[in-house]
Amino acid sequence: MADQQVHMRVWRGDAQGGEFKDYRIAVGEGQVVLDVIHAIQAQQANDLAVRWNCKAGKCGSCSAEVNGKPRLMCMTRMNLFQPGETITVSPMRTFPIIRDLVTDVSFNFKKAREVPAFKPKPKEPDGTRRMFQEDIDRVQEFHKCIECFLCQNVCHVIRDHDDNKPAFSGPRFFVRLAALEMHPLDTNDRMELLKQKAGIGYCNITKCCTEVCPEHIHITDNAIIPLKERIVDRYYDPIARLVGLFSTKNK
């Protein structure tokens, strides 16, 4: 196949501001958006800033917005677009810009530090750990997360509301918390964190996060909703509250 020319619009700039710049560049067979960004970098703009590592959808480094849609650039094939279509690549909007397509995702690393650690129960009497595949299947789904932070980027609680960030962990961390809560060996309790500091109540299950997840994790259905249910059971269950009242009196 002969190389085809495409018209790319790539956001260039830093925290002070920037603009879309136009590039015309040849596209080879089977290429993905990241290949084209790399070609621009090698041939036309050596200093074009972009993060990437594995180029195979496994590390979650090259997140960006392609024609407005949050995607991994390494998994976005150029043949997805119509011939002649202009392709616009911009950085994730939810995080502060560092430069060009690179954003400051330190928010996520801060939230990671707030998660109470895994705390396993004692071993079996024979010194082993026994877990059964059917009991860990659902947690393994959560462990597929590659921390691309596209779910965080698309989440409307924080996308245009910086002020919500201190009180909201975001879908990535609901997945993480669900993984810990549903881990068959774990004994730590994270309900208070979920309700307060992680702010799961802010989520009104619009499933935007699930839609953009490149690992196809059912974030809303399998992680967030069950966590919300656990909180309701713990804090708002009328029978439990009654029992709670009595037990307080009796103390």
Partner: protein
């Protein structure tokens, strides 16, 4: 004072690199009570380990109770064509099971056996099903578990911080110097010990499974301060990388495909691996399709399929098939699991392979064969270390993981890398901490040393030349691909050396545009030094070893040579030039030798 001029931090131990080895080293050093920093050039959790697919080799015996460290030791040594450091291979085989179980204590969830233990899968060169795994994304599980553990332990992490030079005082490690990728500003670490956990240099080749990070930093930093390098001629070309479309060429296809029943076929539909069983592995390899297929279910009465010969053998076989005209039009062969296993089994066992081929190549691996060919994957060679302590030949400098040499000899078995990272990562952290505790002298940072590094690193901005760093990198990759590839010959290796010298000169004339603020062109310009050093060391060592063994195949010396069976090729910097020597392998104790001679 350099400390006054640049952002300076003081630690006992600085770990460079945050893949499996670096994370495990930092966790250990910190647990030993010394002040530890973990410095990595990508974001935390994105290092190469995340891409590892198949599993962690450890003789836990959950699937085959007859498995034990002795069998694992034997397999590792034989896979490495007996050039491995025997003591490293012994420690590795003995300690790997504990390191895997430790990950479970920290929250990792491996696939399970029917009775609830960690499931183990078949891989090339391993006598028993031995790889603890999570589908085909074991590296992700491993790095995330270690990363979260390190975060909970409160270890200081410096992300997107690229350390490029080691600083010494009287021949001892005194610190490290580099830059923040975001601001481009320099950063200085004062420390008593450095653990290198920087991985390999596979980005010097064109068709590679390696990411931008694999620029040979650790090997180069170590060589620059006088540490010995060893076994640099042994580069592993993984037999199965993607070959089509061109944009994905080199991306890894896990050996787990063959471990789970996939077979290699040529365009005539023949399972050609039966024609490539070397004498060395004849006794333990099936010679009929019937026996090979029966082996998956019954290892006691059948020998292993030749599809799971060690990687060097399989890569050479694929190369030969393609050369003989039995390859696909894209220069690969077929890897078929579709006709051999049910679709739901494939999806369950190999989800990311399914996803990768579907999205990137429009191939449904449950319905059609994959097209695969060799891809540059792993460096067996690296910095020479003490087998027990991971100490290099420079006091205060330790190395673990792919950057270190010795464990894998001439060829690494699949699955032995992740276990290597855990076993020797932990040891590096432990012995670096011990070194620090027993060291009482004072160390000073040499201001002139730092200033010289700073000047060199800023030179590309002030250069009067017009060389593009990307072009030099591409030229190096093409050179190594064409002249220092799977099959080597002296005339081509010498030609490669000449080109590398020219590229070194050109790299002095590199000019970068823009400023220091997150500037990948500048970053690559700085990486050229380590890419070229790595490539030069690999090429020099390849010329020196005039035989074929493991990951080093010489067309002009096609057999193994008993003389070379007894030596490692060592490379070290002398007066600014890389110099070679051949040094004898350490003598193996008789009881371990006996293990190697057992045939079954």
């Amino acid at each position: 004072m350099a400390e006054a001029k640049y952002e300076t931090h003081e630690y006992d131990v600085v770990v460079i690199g945050a893949g499996g080895a670096g994370l495990r080293a930092a966790v250990e050093a910190s647990a030993q009570g010394v002040k530890t920093a973990l410095v990595c050039k990508s974001l935390l959790g994105k290092a190469h380990t995340v891409m590892a697919e198949g599993g962690i080799a450890a003789a836990m015996g959950n699937v085959y109770p007859e498995d034990n460290w002795k069998v694992h030791f034997r397999d590792t040594m034989r896979g490495g064509k007996l050039l491995n450091n025997w003591r490293m291979a012994q420690i590795h085989a003995q300690e790997a099971p504990d390191r895997v179980l430790e990950l479970e204590e920290w929250g990792a969830l491996f696939d399970r056996t029917h009775d609830g233990l960690i499931l183990q899968r078949d891989f090339g060169g391993h006598r028993y099903a031995r790889l603890a795994h999570v589908g085909d994304r074991t590296g992700l599980e491993m790095i995330r578990t270690l990363q979260q553990h390190a975060v909970h332990k409160g270890i200081d992490v410096y992300m997107e911080c690229n350390l490029q030079r080691l600083l010494t005082d009287g021949g001892r490690i005194a610190g490290a110097f580099g830059y923040w990728r975001e601001s481009g500003k320099f950063i200085l670490f004062k420390c008593k010990a450095v653990v290198l956990a920087t991985g390999g240099g596979g980005k010097a080749w064109k068709v590679t499974s390696n990411s931008w990070e694999y620029t040979g930093d650790g090997v180069t930093m170590a060589a620059d301060v006088g540490a010995d390098l060893m076994d640099m001629e042994f580069m592993q070309f993984h037999p199965t990388g993607m070959v089509w479309p061109p944009s994905v060429r080199g991306i890894l296809v896990t050996e787990g495909v063959r471990g789970d029943g996939g077979t290699l076929k040529n365009t005539e539909g023949k399972r050609f691996m039966f024609n490539y069983i070397p004498d060395f592995f004849k006794a333990e390899t099936a010679d009929t399709e019937k026996e090979a297929d029966a082996w998956y279910e019954d290892k006691r009465n059948n020998r292993r399929t030749p599809d799971l010969l060690p990687r060097d053998e399989v890569a050479r076989a694929i190369n030969s098939e393609v050369k003989a005209g039995r390859g696909t039009v894209h220069g690969g062969v077929f890897l078929d699991i579709a006709s051999r296993r049910p679709a739901d089994y494939i999806q369950k066992r190999l989800p990311s392979m399914y996803h990768q081929f579907k999205e990137l190549a429009d191939v449904d691996i449950t319905k059609e064969p994959m097209e695969v060919g060799p891809t540059c994957h792993y460096s067996m060679g690296g910095v020479r270390v003490n087998a027990d302590t991971t100490a290099t030949t420079v006091p205060g400098l330790f190395a673990a993981g792919e950057v270190a040499a010795g464990l894998h000899g001439a060829n690494r078995l699949g699955g032995n890398s992740l276990s290597d990272l855990l076993v020797f990562g932990r040891r590096a952290g432990l012995y670096a901490a011990e070194y620090v505790k027993s060291f009482s002298g004072a160390l000073t940072i040499n201001h002139d040393q730092v200033e010289e590094h700073a000047r060199t690193m800023l030179a590309p901005f002030e250069s009067k030349g017009s060389e593009n760093p990307y072009t030099i990198h591409a030229d190096l990759q093409q050179t190594m691909q064409d002249l220092v590839g799977i099959i080597r010959v002296e005339s081509e290796l010498k030609q490669a050396l000449e080109i590398i010298q020219k590229l070194k000169q050109r790299s002095q004339r590199v000019r970068v545009e823009g400023n220091r603020h997150y500037n990948p062109g500048w970053h690559l310009a700085l990486d050229l030094h380590s890419l070229l050093t790595f490539a030069e060391a690999a090429t020099l060592a390849a010329i020196e070893r005039k035989e074929s063994r493991g990951g080093h195949t010489r067309d002009d010396y096609p057999s193994t040579d008993a003389k070379f069976a007894k030596v490692n090729v060592v490379v070290r910097m002398k007066n600014g030039e890389l110099a070679l020597s051949q040094e004898p392998l350490p003598e193996m104790p008789a009881e371990l030798k006996a293990l190697l001679e057992e045939n079954k």
